[in-house]
Amino acid sequence: MSRPFTTLVAIAAPMLEDNIDTDIIIPSREMKSTGKTGLADGLFAGRRYAGGREPDPGFVLNRPAYARAGILLSGANFGCGSSREHAVWALVEWGIACVIAPSFSPIFAGNAVRGGLLPLVAPAETVAFLASVDGPVAVDLPAQTVAAGGRSFAFEIDAEAKAMLIGGLDAIDLTMEQMPAIRRWEEADQRVRPWVSTPLG
């Protein structure tokens, strides 16, 4: 279960670079526990801290205007690189509930939906406009719009991802409802491809 996501009005921090990879979002040396929490401190650690653990005043999330940002604006291929889900957990724990970018790494986008973070795909020009606006950005997931500075843009999202985010749904619960169909499929498959299970015993 993740926090349901319906609408969000928040300050959007611009980080308009392509290929922000998961190692930038959270370096692997910051993944210090085997659990899913305690990661906010390591968010963007390579850029957020200057020497040691001193905040680097030049880094966007350290600037007073963005200290309470709830949305991140970024470039194409956001979340590429390592599949680490910690990237999503760290963003959410820090307070980011939505990333708006022209494209996402597929693994990151899947992780985001499961972690209650909206990966919102918008053309680069839209992202640039949102970054140029003073004041908050409003995201309405049920209506599939993002608005700021008096303009509103529609966005596309996969229907199941949308339903899961709005309901804070757990995908495993959804799938468990289909267990009879899964069992039937597996029984039939066992006859066609017996080696898939038998040699493994």
Partner: protein, 453 residues
């Protein structure tokens, strides 16, 4: 009409929703110690269990120490807890564990094909972005997050949208000495690191057909750096011959039954793809990366592009127009799920034999699995490397990535047979040039970036 990908997908589709999401049967799940404990413990905390424990495997590869005589202790701060907690969770769930000290231990993407765990026509997922390596045998293998891994473990399925498909054909013959790593880097350099964004990529063409299995794994491995969803190669006699007799591969009558089905795993002549790329294999040279993305790669004889971005130039300590050949290096690394299999080590050893690593260069060889290590030692390759001044390690991911443990130094220039040259990937501030094991070997001997003679 259907492509290989269509066949792999539809043969695992249990159900489809009107919204376009499919419920896909998952035949194999692999975990590793970095996230294995988190996934298994979170599953248990939700009161769920692993539905098919016999089809789930756990490798200790990411943070295990690779220095000779290793124990559970690791140089990564707090790393030992990942190992012990993953071991406990794997045992509690009855999963097959490739543990520290186990003769089958190794990097999951090396171990899985080696033992015939991944097979043609199977679906396999793992919480690791280079899982598509395993598509080289003709399987649909892709990387997922650890919450999705919980889903796969609990239900034997995943919910996923069918990605668009791409075919990349390498036609013609490779020039002598040119490898699968060069093919991959040439592709990514030409089409960008997002060139295959979210696509299921079939590698095909005569140059791919001519590749041995291990080289096919290298090629599929690098598809991750092309932003692919998955990558695979239609299985053929090379595949079947390589898999036959492996521990988890079917045998006897089951082998014959499987083979009959595996022979159908190919794209039909009129199959459609959302995108096709054709590359003349003969035009590919030895490739080396100059920047901090695999797409920033050039032929080894080339110069840093005149329009190179400032940030990677500054990070790598290079200038536009500069030649890569002759750049002094501090480190050389042969290993990783990209290039750590027996033929990779043999080709590097042939270059190293009877020669010495240049003074001041730290050079390592890290076999991809304990089985590769034993096989290499049986051929005396360990002696070749040790006598030349290389370190000879236990198997694991090792210095392919920096997790707070062992690393190369800041500002040090390293040639590496790995797949990622991102900033600080191999150590804070380390300048990584990715290339083939042959170029790593030749450079280690020369003390600077060099092509094999």
């Amino acid at each position: 009409m259907p492509s290989l990908f269509d066949k792999l997908w539809s043969s695992h589709e249990i159900a489809a929703t009107p919204g376009g999401t499919s419920l896909i049967a998952i035949d194999r799940v692999f975990l590793h110690e970095r996230t294995g404990a988190a996934a298994l413990n979170s599953l248990a905390a939700a009161g769920r269990s692993v539905r098919h424990p016999a089809r789930a495997f756990v490798a200790m590869d990411h943070i295990v120490d690779t220095r000779p005589g290793r124990t559970d202790a690791t140089l990564m701060p707090g790393g030992q807890a990942f190992i012990t907690e993953t071991r406990a969770a794997a045992r509690a769930n009855g999963l097959t564990l490739f543990d520290v000290g186990d003769p089958d231990q190794g990097i999951m993407h090396v171990v899985s094909p080696e033992l015939g765990i991944v097979l043609p026509g199977l679906t396999l997922v793992a919480p690791d972005s280079h899982t598509c390596t395993q598509g080289a045998v003709g399987a649909l293998a892709w990387g997922i997050g650890s919450t999705e891994a919980e889903h796969a473990l609990a239900t034997g399925t995943l919910r996923a949208r069918k990605p668009p498909s791409m075919r990349v054909r390498f036609e013609g013959a490779l020039a002598p000495g040119v490898t699968a790593k060069d093919m991959a880097l040439a592709l990514i350099a030409a089409h960008g690191s997002a060139g295959g964004q979210g696509m299921a990529i079939e590698f095909a063409g005569s140059a791919v057909r001519a590749l041995p299995m291990e080289a096919r794994m290298t090629l599929c491995n690098m598809a991750t750096e092309f932003a692919a969803f998955a990558a695979f190669i239609a299985p053929d006699e090379t595949t079947f011959g390589w898999l036959k007799g492996r521990r988890h591969a079917p045998s006897g009558a089951l082998w014959e039954l499987a083979l009959a089905q595996w022979r159908l795993l190919a794209s039909d002549a009129d199959a459609g793809f959302e995108r096709e790329i054709l590359i003349d294999a003969a035009t590919i040279g030895l490739m080396v990366s100059w920047g901090t993305s695999p797409s920033q790669s050039i032929p080894i004889t080339g110069t840093v592009p005149a329009d190179a971005d400032a940030r990677p130039l500054a990070y790598m300590g290079l200038e536009r127009g500069q030649r890569l050949l002759g750049l002094p290096i501090a480190g050389a690394f042969i290993g990783s799920c990209t290039n750590s299999r027996l033929p990779d080590l043999s080709r590097a050893a042939a270059i190293v034999r009877g020669r010495r690593v240049a003074p001041g260069v730290r050079a390592l060889v890290v076999p991809g699995s304990s089985a590769v290590k034993r096989a290499a030692e049986a051929e005396g390759l360990d002696r070749v490397f040790l006598e030349a001044g290389f370190e000879w390690r236990e198997s694991g991911c090792s210095m392919c990535f920096y997790a707070g443990g062992e690393s190369f130094g800041a500002g040090e220039r390293v040639v590496s047979s790995t797949n990622r040259n991102f900033e600080s990937r191999q150590g804070l501030g380390t300048r990584t040039h990715i290339t083939s094991p042959e170029v790593v070997a030749a450079s280690a001997l020369a003390g600077h970036i060099a092509a094999p003679e």
